[in-house]
Point group: C2
Chain length 342, copies 2
Amino acid sequence: MKPRAKRKITIRDVAELVDVHHSTVSRALSPNKRDQISPAVVKKVEKAAEQLGYFPNLVASSLKQNRSFAVGVLVPDLTNPVFPPIIRGIQDTAEAAGLTVITANTDDEEAKERSALKTMQGRSIDGIIIATALREDPIVEECIRNEIPFVLVNRTVDRDDVNAVVIDEQFGINSILEHLIGLKHRRIAHIAGPDHTSTGHERAAAFAAYLNSKGLPSDLIETTEKFTIEEGRRGLRRLLARDNTCTAVVASNDLLALGCMDEMKELGMLVPDNMSISGYDDIQFLERMNPALTSVLVPKYEMGSQATKILLNMLEGKSTSPVLQRMRPRLVVRNSTATASR
Amino acid sequence: MKPRAKRKITIRDVAELVDVHHSTVSRALSPNKRDQISPAVVKKVEKAAEQLGYFPNLVASSLKQNRSFAVGVLVPDLTNPVFPPIIRGIQDTAEAAGLTVITANTDDEEAKERSALKTMQGRSIDGIIIATALREDPIVEECIRNEIPFVLVNRTVDRDDVNAVVIDEQFGINSILEHLIGLKHRRIAHIAGPDHTSTGHERAAAFAAYLNSKGLPSDLIETTEKFTIEEGRRGLRRLLARDNTCTAVVASNDLLALGCMDEMKELGMLVPDNMSISGYDDIQFLERMNPALTSVLVPKYEMGSQATKILLNMLEGKSTSPVLQRMRPRLVVRNSTATASR
DNA sequence: CTGAAAGCGCTTACAG
DNA sequence: CTGAAAGCGCTTACAG
C-alpha cells in the first residue's frame, strides 16, 4: 500500500524524526558542513533521510545559494555530428562534478542564442560553455557584460581575454598539406569555412601561409557561408569554374568535404583519381564512406571535457587569467587522397 | 560605466519604479494573470521591467509553484546517431512550449539511470521522456510509483498502462522482408536486437511471423546482447557458423547491420553479391557508405516531437488514458540488398 | 556542536 | 483591480 498523498519529504520531516532542528539536518547532509555536526547525529540524520526516502530539493537550495549547480551549453545543432561527442565530454565531466547540463540549439541564429541565454540566466546557471562563437560575437559580449562565467569550445572570438579550448589549426592544416604535397600535389585548393568563424578563418590563413612557405600557389581559396554539405558543393562548383588545374582540395571541415564529393560525383569525376579531397573534424563513419574520407581528427570529447574543467575551476574561484588552450589534432589518411594525377 | 554591483533585478525593483506592490508586478508579467490587472498598469510594469533589464528568476518561481518548467530526457548515449534527431524533436517541441530540456546519458546502466532520475526529481522536473526503456524496466516502475509524468519513446515496456511513442515494427519488418522476397531471397536470417528491449523483441517476432505466413523458414535468428557494431559482427559470425545457405540478413538496427558488413569484409565476402544486408533506423550517412545500406527509416525527430506533445498534454491535465502511438517507418532501398545469388 | 531566525524571489489565496 | 501576508524548502550568519 503506497502513501497516497505524495507530499514531498523535506528536511523538516527528517528533523522531526531525529528530533533535531532542521538546520542541523541541513548541515549533516551537506558534505562541507558535515564536520560541524557530531558524528552520532550525522549518522542518525543519514539513516532517517534514507528511511524516509528524502532527497534534497535542488530548487530551494539554488534559490538560497543563488546558483543552480547547472551549466548551460550552446551548440548550433545537436544533429550536426561534430557536436554529440563534444557535448558528451561536457556532460560526463560536469556530472562527475555534480553539475547538471542544459543544452540548447541555436541554429546559428542570434535570436535563438539570446533567448537561450536569457532562459539560462533565469535559471541561475552557474556558467556556460559556448560552441557557437563567431569571431565577433554579441552573445559572448553579453556574457562578459553580465559576468557570466563562460568557456568557448571549438571556436573562439577575436578578443583574447576569454577562456577557450580550440584546435591547433595550424598544426592540423600543415599536416594535411604535408600529406598532399608528399603525394606530389602542387596545385592545392581550399574550400574555406565562413570567415567570421575562427575555425574557418584560421584554417584558411594557415593554408595560405603554409603553401607560401613552400613556394606553392595559395590563391585557390573559395570561402563558403556555412559549414554544410550544400555549401561544400557550391564551393567546389565555384572553384572548378575558375580553375581546372588543381589536383587536391582541402575542405575546412568534413561536411564541406562531403559536399565536394557529392559535386564531384555529379560531374562524373572520381575521387581520388581525378581529385584528392580531405575533410576536417573526423566525424563518425568517415571510414565507411565511398571513398573513405581523409580527415583531420579533432579530439571532440576531450575538447568538451577540457572546456568543462576550465569552467569548473572558474566556478571554484581558481584560474583567474584567461586561458586559450589549443589541442593538437591528428591526420587520418584514408582513400579520398592519393597521388596527384598530373 | 557599468553598474559594479551586479545585484539581480527583482520583481521588487520593478514594483518600486512603478510604485505598485510587487504582487501586482508578478501578475502583470504573468501571461495568465495579466488580465487581472488594468491595462495601464500592465503597460507601465512592462516598460519598467524592460528598462531595468528585469528577467524572472525561474528558480524562485519553480520553488513556489513546485514545478520547474523543465523536462528530463533519458537516453543511452547521445553519440549513438539514432538519438540526436529524437532529442532535437523533443527540444524543439518542449522549448516552443516554454520548457527547458535536461538530457542525461545512462549508457544502459541502471545505476546511472537511477542517479539521473534522482537529480531530475531534485530539480522538480515536470516530466520525463525515456528512450532507455527495457521491457521490464525498474526506472519506469519508479516513475510510476513516484507519479512522475513520463512518456516512453522509441522503446516501450511490456505493461500497457503507459504512454509511449514507438514504431510500427511489424510494418517495418514486413516491408524489408517483402523487398527481399521480391529479390528472390528464400533463406533469410535475422540478427536480432536484445530480447529485453521492445524493439529487439518485436522485430524478431515480426520477422518470424511474416516468414511463417509466407511458408518460408524462420529459424535463422541470432539474438545479440546490445545494439552495437561489435555485437553485429559477432552475431553474423555465429550465424554463418551454423548456416551457409542464407542469402540475406535483416539486422535489427543499423549498427548491427554495419557490424555484419564489417564481418563480411573480414571474411572476404561481398555485399550484396554474396549476401544482402539491411539495417533499421536509417541513421545519418547510410547513403554514403560502401555499399550504401538499405534500411528502414524511422521518423526520429517526429517521434521525439510526438512524445513531447503527449507529455505536454499530460502536464496540462489533459489526456488521461495511456496512449501507445505507433509511427509508420518507411523502407529505403539502397545498394546493400540485391537479387539473391543462388 | 546545535538552535532559532531571517531570507533567497517568486506566487497566490484572502481581503477589500 | 490591487495590496498585504504567508510560504515554497532550503542555507547560513548569529548566538550560545
